[in-house]
Amino acid sequence: MTDVNLVTPAIPVPDVIEGRSLWQDAWRRLLRNRAALASLIILGVIAFLSIFGPYALAWSYDQIDWDHVEAVPPSLALKHYLGTDSVGRDLLARTLFGGRVSLTVGLLATGVALFIGVTVGAVSGYLGGKVDQVLMRFVDLMYSVPLTFFVIILMVLFGRNFILMFLAIGSVEWLTMARIVRGQTLTLKHREFMEAARASGGSTVSILLRHVVPNVLGVVIVYVTLTIPQVILLESFLSFLGLGVQEPMTSWGVLINEGAAELEITPRTLIVPAIFMTATLFCFNFLGDGLRDALDPKDR
């Protein structure tokens, strides 16, 4: 009976051997990167708190505690777990709500940039010729515009409008994305599978959507994770200049700016939102670096 044991394989072989896709491979590598994994978890927690936290708190972000219209230190009895700001609004509630606004602006503006950048880049690279020339000249031209000035002019002219804010930021952040995607598309253009797609009669649109876009996704994702923190910073910069979201709406940028003004008296009004924001920015940056390593295995 002993030879039966020899025949039984030590590792059970599944009936069907599944291949691992590039994405599964990248995902495994990402999870093995401790900094990136920790960032992913922290970002998840911050996002979860920002979305659901405001519902669980006793105070809302714009509610003034009329019994204590002053900076209340952290108190469990009053349910101000991190105290209040100088006019008696709950700091934790404001920070979580501000996170909602900042993250939304970051994601939506990056989404706008992603959409314009990938479309322009892929079309430009794939079609080439005149179209490419015109689009890339336009991108070059936009690069020499002082873009922060442009965003400020837009915000002043059209008022401090939430939708306009992410449209304005998004419409200036797409340039680098377009260049990256164009470069990738150029290298893809003459590969065999692209020729096969063309030979089998795929239309330009379907080739762009089914073959070009999925293949540039890796690079794009890395760039997206690095753009989101830039947008959040830009938003806080606008808030500093008084062009951010309007009271009583708030964002991390607005809170940090308010807190910095009261730094000497109540440092926690700066420290709390600053910790949330810098942690988020840190995590996005680490995640971006981790994704780059995970998706680009040649650089190991």
């Binding site: 031209l141 020499s144 200049l241 940090i256 700066l270 810098t278």
Partner: protein, 311 residues
């Protein structure tokens, strides 16, 4: 090379013209104007003001006369600083911003690049992690927070010690007044430079020609300085071009915090007050600077990388 230069300059002119045109019409076609205020101005005065600034002329006429004046180096009168022309305001503010920016830039290069090299040569050691951590911190802390922190520390807490520095003001460019703004402006650039230098240096140190240089027995220092650094600096130069122009933008925050009479503060106040001509003037100036710096970058590439050809 000269024809390349000439062509680039020729492309720069229509670019500048396009920027001027878009800005001009953006500002004129939106509601609100420089004479809106909380206390209503009497009709007659308003009419006089509008006539004085030619705001009642047809828009195309205003546009053409603005362009014509620009060609004569005349940026028009400021709407808010009543006794000044924009040319005068820029002539006052630009040297201040320029000196500040240049000092910050030199500081950033002097600190950031060596930091990046030090980290790259000791990849994955505590020294590398320390530099990367510091760089990340410099990138994620907004400079308006950093500026106010520095004011709190050096302007308030250390008030009675020898480390006390003025919390703001320009004081005709006294050295002590320049320290905090320069450092605040430089910190994010130090961080970016360290990060970029580290990345490109690591890549270059693996290149074959660096291995050759080491194999033929050159001292390590010579390999790094004479062979690796030159091509490792290419991405640094790419970053520095727009960054130099961007220092003007970064200075908006720093000039506002430290109350420095530079061009960035004029821009912010001009934008908030709808001072059309002032905003246009600063935007045109920084666009011209940006175009110029991008050109410089492309020329410097040729010095760093013999593979670059201008045709």
């Amino acid at each position: 090379m000269w024809s390349y230069l000439a062509r680039r300059i020729l492309i720069g002119i229509p670019t500048l013209w396009a920027i001027i045109t878009v800005c001009f019409f953006l500002m004129r076609l939106t509601p609100g104007g420089p004479f809106d205020s909380a206390a209503p101005i009497p009709q007659e005065i308003l009419a006089n003001l509008r006539a004085r600034y030619h705001l009642d002329d047809p828009l195309w006429q205003q546009y053409l006369s603005y362009l014509w004046n620009l060609l004569h180096w005349d940026f028009g009168p400021s709407f808010k600083y009543k006794d000044f022309t924009v040319t005068e305001l820029i002539a006052q503010g630009f040297p201040v911003s320029f000196q500040n920016g240049l000092a910050a830039l030199l500081l950033a290069i002097a600190v950031g690049v060596p930091m990046g090299i030090a980290a790259a040569l000791a990849q994955n050691t505590p020294r590398d992690y320390a530099v990367s951590g510091l760089a990340m911190t410099g990138i994620v802390i907004p400079n308006f927070v950093m500026g106010q922190l520095l004011i709190l520390i050096f302007g308030v807490w250390l008030k009675d010690s020898i480390f006390h520095l003025p919390a703001g003001g320009w004081n005709n460019g006294a050295f002590v007044n320049r320290i905090l703004p320069t450092v605040t402006l430089a910190l994010p650039f130090i961080a970016y430079l360290a990060r970029i230098t580290r990345g490109s240096m690591i890549e270059v140190m693996r290149a074959n020609y660096v291995r050759t240089a080491r194999a033929k027995g050159l001292p390590f220092r010579a390999v790094v300085i004479r062979h690796a650094l030159k091509s490792a600096l290419t991405p640094v130069v790419t970053f520095l071009g727009p960054a130099t122009a961007f220092i003007l933008t970064g200075s908006m925050v720093v000039e506002t915090i430290f109350q420095i009479p530079g061009i960035g503060r004029y821009f912010v106040q001009g934008a908030l007050n709808r001072d059309y001509t002032l905003v246009m003037g600063v935007t045109i100036l920084s666009a011209a600077l940006m175009i110029f710096m991008n050109l410089m970058v492309d020329l410097i590439y040729g010095l760093l990388d013999p593979k670059v050809r201008y045709d």
